[in-house]
Amino acid sequence: MIKIQKKNFNLEEEIEKIKNKHLDIGALTSFVGYVRDLNNNKDVKYLNLEVYQEMAFKELSKIENNATKKWSLIDTLIIHRYGKLVVNEKIVLVCCFSQHRKNSFEACEFIMNYLKKDAPFWKNEFYYKDNEWLENSS
């Protein structure tokens, strides 16, 4: 499942909603990305996160499908926020549910790597004096 939304999310609620559908799940690896207080050696005030929404859905679906096939995942969840996000807020959640732990670890890292590389989101990071568009290193 892919969600692209402005609002915050509750990890317990989002995860249990999916977990409860599948009693054969033994392992969940999840990743959460947060807004850090310091970046490029500057104090961060907030991010403005822009998204190309229609394309983000398509790209994340492709990545999710590839991971699901390659690691026989039972279910997945990707939530990516956009808009104004202040320090300490969650930006992204990726969950990979599987029978055993190895597959969920590998799949979760794979999804994060491709999300960082290809998903059309852009962070405009605001410091106290100026702002900067970030680029993920590949």
Partner: protein, 81 residues
């Protein structure tokens, strides 16, 4: 043909999107030339080859034939996650 701009590309074009109705470019190469005329500042970024192009929400190589109904997006390297 709808062209969409994202992140700091919008600061150069001063708009989020625009429609090219007549004499629409037939390829990404032609589109680049077209846009360089409209927005001279884009030229150096095209030359550096850092921008990415998507046609109908899919990344494309440059030799695709563009059609009038296509939605084309131009954006800098992404920074999600």
């Amino acid at each position: 043909m709808r062209i969409r701009y994202f992140a700091w590309i919008k600061d150069i074009t001063n708009k989020e999107d625009e429609i090219i109705d007549i004499n629409h470019p037939k390829s990404i190469q032609e589109l680049k030339k077209y846009l360089e005329n409209l927005y001279p500042e884009l030229k150096k970024h095209f030359l550096q080859d850092v921008l990415r192009f998507a046609v109908n929400q899919e990344y494309v190589s440059e030799n695709l034939n563009l059609k009038p109904i296509d939605e084309i997006a131009i954006f800098p390297p992404v920074s999600g996650g």
